[in-house]
């Protein structure tokens, strides 16, 4: 990495790409809706205009189905990318992703319990999300408590505890699925574990949007501290940054955001692992630049991934995790093999 590319053009290009992607994501699908109609329906929905009766089905697809779904894709892609950046700084490990601390398997246990036992039935359609969120928070709390030592949350302890407990949660989940009376439960759980935006509706957006925006603002304001944290705890202390305290609140922040995202979309793999690396290759490792670019790049990536997942085998819908893995695995291996990046060319 020699010359750093300029940040503003990158942000402009990605913003345009995001708008175009959103439009494409709304227009394309099992039924293709001309972009002119899409814009007209959106305008009608936002400004209270009128549409004719035979346009109603198109309008419903655009406004009730695809728009919330595409916006959820942007939210999940942006959120997981930002969390991935932070987790990698937090545990000082380039291979970490938002789920390394056991958050997704905890969420899975919660969701499985809903599917198999019907807990939280009183919450209706939100039961799955609520249970997954609680499972995620419970898992994070357990990891936090188990990893805590006198020296604070040390990176290696965090990763090891997260991985160990993730196995534990997976075992619990397997038992739940095994005990379930029919195979439908296992199918639902599997689909949900691989991530899906199929459950998107306008109600699933606001909390996540607020959480991700808030996290982005807070993190951008602390990006220099994240740079310092990446240098190691001792060096951080010598630069006046309390690594242990910083790590504590970053842990809480990432656990909450990841929990909220997993609750609405399942555990979408690879975005949070690969996006931070791709962004670093593009703009360098300084967290101010990475945190500014990562959400845009992650949003664009996720819109297209989702589009592929619902059109490739239409009308069947492929799990998101399959598509992200198909893209993510080769990209990641290529990255790792690139000399001079990540592992230092040493």
């Amino acid at each position: 990495m020699t010359e750093r590319v300029r940040l503003v053009p990158v942000l402009l290009i990605l913003s345009v790409a995001l708008v175009v992607s959103i439009a494409a994501g709304i227009a394309l699908g099992a039924t293709v809706i001309p972009i002119g109609d899409v814009l007209r329906y959106l305008q009608a929905a936002l400004t209270g205009g009128t549409i004719t009766a035979d346009e109603l089905s198109g309008y419903t697809i655009v406004w009730e189905v695809r728009t919330p779904r595409v916006l959820l894709a942007v939210l999940v892609g942006a959120g997981l990318s930002v969390v991935g950046v932070v987790i990698q700084a937090l545990v000082r490990n380039a291979l970490a992703d938002p789920f390394v601390l056991g958050i997704s398997s905890g969420a899975s246990v919660g969701a499985t319990a809903v599917v198999v036992f019907g807990v939280f039935a009183s919450l209706g359609v939100y039961a799955l999300s609520a249970a997954a969120f609680l499972g995620a928070l419970g898992a994070s709390a357990l990891v936090y408590i188990a990893a805590m030592s006198k020296a604070g949350l040390t990176p290696l302890r965090l990763v090891l505890t997260g991985i160990a407990l993730a196995y534990g949660f997976q075992a619990v989940m397997s038992v739940l699925v095994f005990l379930a009376p029919d195979g439908q439960a296992a199918r639902t759980v599997l689909f949900w574990l691989m991530g899906s935006l199929g459950g998107a509706n306008w109600g699933s957006l606001p909390i996540g949007v607020v959480a991700v925006l808030l996290a982005m603002v807070v993190l951008l304001r602390n990006s220099r501290a994240l740079d310092v944290l990446a240098m190691g705890d001792e060096t951080a202390a010598s630069l006046g940054v309390d690594a242990a305290g910083l790590r504590r609140w970053l842990f809480v922040l990432t656990a909450a955001v990841t929990g909220l995202l997993v609750a609405v979309s399942g555990a979408v793999a690879f975005v949070g692992l690969v996006m931070p690396h791709l962004v670093r290759i593009l703009v360098g490792s300084g967290h101010r630049r990475v945190l500014a670019v990562a959400p845009l790049a992650g949003g664009v990536f996720m819109v297209w991934t989702d589009l592929v997942s619902r059109t490739l085998a239409a009308p069947e819908e492929l799990p998101l995790g399959v598509i992200t893995a198909v893209i993510g695995v080769p990209v990641f291996i290529t990255l790792m093999r690139r000399r001079g990046y990540l592992f230092g060319g040493r």
Partner: protein, 257 residues
């Protein structure tokens, strides 16, 4: 700015790493910490740059107990080259050096023109300016060491704490670094393994063994064959440097039967 460690003890997980350690450095002095592996040099230094809190005793900067300062206030006076210098992220050299300004800035405040000029100057001093756009991960151990020293200098400290700064450096850069420390006008605490370089570079030496200072004073008073034998367990002859007069050690490699 003078530094004093008074009665510092550090206990971690029931193990006593440093016991009742006393060490002083007057303003502008270069004080060396020497001693065998595990004698507590790094531990003592960690208490000065606040990576560790002493379990007893205190560290004073110009008479102020550092425990009463925030980490950030401390970092405006004290900069450190630690041994824990490893990162997976490919920051550029210029970015790493700029991080030295962290304790002087609020949050994400940008560097001023003066600070950018300062970063350029310290990179020139440490001979890394030509590397400024290179990724830190592609540098050799010695180059990286100099980048981290540049970052410490960018902090504009009055006290510089260096833990094994000559590690990985070739002989030219070792000599350059230590001569720089002599004329920098900073109070310097430096842990160093090479006793000859220590004798040449330091105004005073503190010899540590088993977590305690067993001897302290000017190199000429401290470095005696008796002490070297007692602390390091090696035989050495002390000679006077023909042109500078500082004590230098010649080691006797005895064939073991």
């Amino acid at each position: 700015m003078d530094v004093a460690l008074t009665g510092v003890s550090v206990e971690i997980a029931g193990k006593s790493l440093v016991r009742d350690l006393h060490l002083e450095a007057d303003a502008g002095q270069v004080v060396g910490l020497v001693g065998p592996n595990g004698s507590g040099k790094s531990t003592a230094l960690r208490c000065v740059y606040r990576a560790l809190k002493p379990s007893a005793g205190a560290v004073f900067l110009d008479g102020t107990d550092v425990a009463t300062l925030t980490l950030k206030e401390n970092a405006r006076h004290v900069a450190a080259l630690t041994q824990d210098n490893h990162t997976d992220l490919d920051f550029t050299v210029a970015e790493v050096v700029a991080l030295g300004r962290t304790p002087h800035l609020r949050g994400n405040e940008a560097l001023s023109a003066r600070e950018r000029e300062l970063c350029r100057e310290v990179m020139e001093q440490t001979d890394v300016l030509h590397l400024k756009d290179r990724s830190i991960l592609t540098l050799s151990g010695g180059e990286r060491q100099r980048v981290f020293i540049a970052r410490a200098l960018a902090q504009e400290p009055r006290v510089l704490v260096l833990d094994e700064p000559t590690n990985h450096l070739d002989v030219r850069h070792q000599v350059e670094l230590l001569s720089f420390l002599r004329k920098a006008g900073l109070t310097v605490l430096v842990a160093i393994h090479d006793l000859n370089l220590a004798a040449a570079a330091c105004d005073r030496l503190g010899v540590l063994a088993g977590g305690q200072v067993v001897a302290a004073g000017a190199p000429i008073d401290v470095l005696t064959s008796g002490l070297i034998k007692e602390v390091f367990g090696v035989d050495a002859t002390v000679v006077s440097h023909p042109s500078t007069g500082v004590p230098q050690l010649l080691y006797d490699l005895k064939e073991k039967a």
